[in-house]
């Protein structure tokens, strides 16, 4: 008996449908990654993006989160807070259950506001302003990165011991929330000890030239010049300060540093620059978690991760872990799982403070190595001080933030 082709075709339909539906029924969750891929902080955004992708691949290889695979949508904030805000709104509209990113505090704060309104968790990545977990803090926002207060206090100990309590300071600071936050925090600590601010000049984010404010600093003749710049701005400013030979007459402090700022500058310019960091790839020699992260990152990308990548790594794994512990993607359940949670991911003891959602862990003071000490292009900084998070973080009295209640 000959079977008509139409019957063979009809018999095959359920099998085709079964195959198609089984693939389509894959459950996924959407993460929104909102980082600067152009503009002043693009190197830091790229660094974060690498770590996000690596972490997501690992989480998916492990089976996802609560059995749901992660898909992600990447948006470029262009180092602009309003674009970051609009991107966050779009991502939320597309169904993102987590938003993460920010390489400027203004961007992070804008995203944080949108996430709070929508009830979406925001894991703030590279944001250093006190306001992120301070007056602009929200229940749905968590920040592992150190804040300006921590950097300022750690630096002030170093500067007072190195230049004396009565040293004279000039500040060039980025004219937005982060720059002001760092400037005010540092001035507070240094002046309290007897130091004097003899000149302060706000500078435009993304400026090409710092020659004019640097010449004013040169004329003022401080003991220490503090450059509160980040990303490409810091690279340009430090390079120009070196070219103008300011460093023969004064020490230079860059309150916040990242390896992707130091590496393009190189050891000749970086030597002697004093800074703070929330993490450094050299910590791989001390902590197993850091070693694992640095090894995986280097294997994948043939370069060292920076502080932004470290924060992105922590954000991904901490969010996933919180969901697993909460056994739910519900935002309030995840918040409860994160608040007060202690963990060891990159360092020895890290935790999320419950009342402001600030990540508490060590702050590192470092100095640019002498070129003779440098072993490769990533070996640019030497840690000269470690300050515990609990000792540096603002108290509740100093940061009287009130996060929104959980119903």
């Amino acid at each position: 008996m000959k079977i008509k082709p139409i019957y063979i075709f009809l018999a095959g339909i359920p099998m085709i449908l079964l195959a198609v539906t089984s693939v389509w029924s894959v459950e996924t969750v959407l993460f929104g990654i909102n980082v600067p891929l152009t503009g002043t902080y693009s190197r830091q955004g790229e660094d974060e993006l690498r770590a996000y992708k690596l972490a997501i691949n690992i989480l998916n290889e492990r089976g996802g989160i609560l059995g749901k695979k992660i898909v992600y949508s990447v948006r470029d904030t262009r180092t602009d807070a309003e674009i970051a805000r609009k991107n966050a709104q779009d991502l939320i509209k597309n169904g993102a259950i987590l938003i993460t990113g920010g390489s400027s505090s203004a961007e992070a704060i804008a995203q944080s506001e949108e996430c709070q309104k929508a009830g979406v968790i925001f894991m703030a990545t590279l944001t250093h302003s006190n306001e992120t977990t301070g007056k602009d803090g929200h229940r749905h926002t968590f920040r592992w990165y150190i804040d300006a207060h921590m950097s300022a206090e750690a630096l002030s100990h170093q500067l007072i011991s190195q230049f004396g309590a009565n040293a004279r300071y000039v500040f060039l600071y980025a004219d937005y929330t982060w720059g002001s936050s760092v400037f005010e925090s540092m001035r507070g600590f240094l002046e309290q000890a007897g130091g004097k601010t003899i000149l302060k000049i706000p500078t435009k984010l993304g400026a090409d030239s710092y020659i004019s404010p640097l010449l004013q600093a040169k004329i003022a003749g401080p003991d220490v010049l503090v450059l509160v710049q980040f990303g490409q701005d810091m690279i340009s400013c430090l390079q120009q300060a070196t070219t103008l030979e300011l460093r023969k007459k004064m020490a230079i402090v860059v309150p916040l540093m990242d390896i992707h700022m130091a590496e393009p500058i190189g050891p000749e310019v970086m030597q002697g620059v004093i800074t703070t960091m929330s993490w450094y790839h050299g910590l791989a020699e001390m902590y197993e978690g850091s070693k694992k992260f640095v090894d995986l990152f280097e294997k994948e990308y043939r370069q060292k991760p920076g502080t932004g990548a470290a924060a992105a790594w922590v954000d991904m794994f901490q969010y996933a872990d919180a969901v697993e512990r909460a056994k739910s993607f519900d935002h309030f359940e995840v918040i409860k799982a994160l608040e007060g949670h202690h963990f060891q991911l990159l360092l020895d003891d890290e935790y999320w403070r419950d009342w402001d959602h600030q990540g508490i862990h060590a702050t590192y003071v470092a100095v640019g190595k002498n070129p003779a000490e440098v072993t490769d292009k990533w070996d640019l900084l030497k840690i000269i001080g470690v300050y515990q998070g609990e000792d540096l973080a603002q108290t509740h009295a100093e940061n009287p933030v009130q996060l929104e209640p959980i119903p």
Binding site: V23, V26, T28, R50, S73, S236
Partner: protein, 333 residues
């Protein structure tokens, strides 16, 4: 006496200043810029996936991705050297070589991905008297369709016509009834079906499934020694992109690829993921070097149909540069 001295100081300052205040960008001689042209088509996904996944991690290549809206503009850009590499229909590559443009076929990154659809469901023999839209007369879709319909004793140009329809007007042409069918790269078939202008042919799907439609064509100058490292790095990235898309189709119902294409192609995510999961047009992504014998057959077919007028030497047109997959894997033949 003072004037020459002041003049000298000014001159020295003017000469020295640019040296001091030059940008802090380190010129890396070994980094070569590759300009890749693409058209928003499902079949061209590896080009944008490679760019999106790897552009931040290249050591030897600075990748620039340029969007075009038609094969005509893509071809023109390659002809004048505005781009270095493009994924073009095979007959277009033959035509360019015939015109003396110094290009090479360096391989292909997909097979299939074009779907034959028509307004009313019917047999192929019913194409008599119909007008079928194709992406270009010098396209593999046109050649394959002519060959397929010749099996139904339908004569090209006499019993039916194929006309070139731009991507951006194909839906309007269908809606207005200016064409009765289309054989187009995805997602245009999916878009037409979604808008209920058309339905997919059942029978021809098998014959036309998984066909070679486009090939990667490069300007010969990028195959020279100083660009080889850059090209090698990009090709490896392209191979990874193919694997990425295949894995994504199999594991995540192509959702990640669908999200990623949105900023380059602008198509609705669900449309692209459905097209990929259903493997419409028998699409499959992998780096391949089409066999010379097959290229020769396509050339002869195009010459027979007078779609091409000048023969070309396939041995000269195909690059000696063998596309290789992931590091450590043997070159794909």
């Amino acid at each position: 006496m003072k004037r020459p001295f002041s003049f000298g100081i000014i001159m020295i300052t003017l000469l020295v200043c640019p040296v001091f205040f030059r940008p802090v960008v380190h010129a890396e001689q070994s980094v070569i810029t590759l300009n890749i042209g693409y058209i928003p088509l499902v079949a061209q996904l590896p080009l944008v996936v490679s760019y999106d996944n790897d552009r931040l991690n290249f050591s030897n290549v600075n990748l620039s991705l340029v969007k075009y809206r038609s094969f005509t503009s893509l071809e023109a850009a390659l002809r004048v050297g505005a781009i270095d590499i493009a994924d073009l229909p095979l007959p277009v590559a033959f035509d360019m070589a015939g015109d003396g443009i110094d290009i090479k076929i360096i391989g292909g990154c997909h097979s299939g991905g074009s779907v034959l659809e028509r307004v009313e469901y019917s047999e192929l023999s019913n194409f008599r008297g119909k007008i079928i839209g194709v992406p270009g007369l010098r396209s593999n879709e046109n050649l394959d369709l002519i060959q397929l319909l010749s099996g139904e004793k339908l004569r090209y140009g006499l019993d039916y016509k194929t006309i070139k329809v731009p991507f951006n007007t194909v839906l309007q042409n269908l809606e207005a009834g200016r064409i009765n069918a289309m054989y187009f790269p995805e997602p245009y078939g999916s878009l037409a079906e979604k808008n209920r202008f058309i339905m997919q042919m059942e029978k021809p799907e098998k014959e036309l499934s998984g066909r070679l439609t486009t090939v990667l064509v490069a300007r010969s100058n990028i195959l020279r020694n100083n660009s080889k490292k850059a090209l090698e790095e990009w090709v490896q990235s392209l191979a990874r992109a193919c694997v990425f898309i295949e894995n994504d189709i199999n594991v995540l119902a192509a959702k990640q690829t669908a999200i990623l294409q949105e900023s380059y192609f602008g198509f609705e995510q669900a449309l692209v993921s459905a097209s990929l999961v259903k493997r419409r047009g028998g699409i499959h992504f992998s780096l391949v070097m089409p066999e010379k014998k097959m290229l020769q057959l396509h050339l002869e077919k195009a010459l027979d149909l007078k779609i091409l007028l000048k023969p070309v030497d396939i041995d000269t047109l195909v690059s000696d540069y063998a596309l290789s997959g992931e590091k450590g894997e043997p070159p794909i033949q």
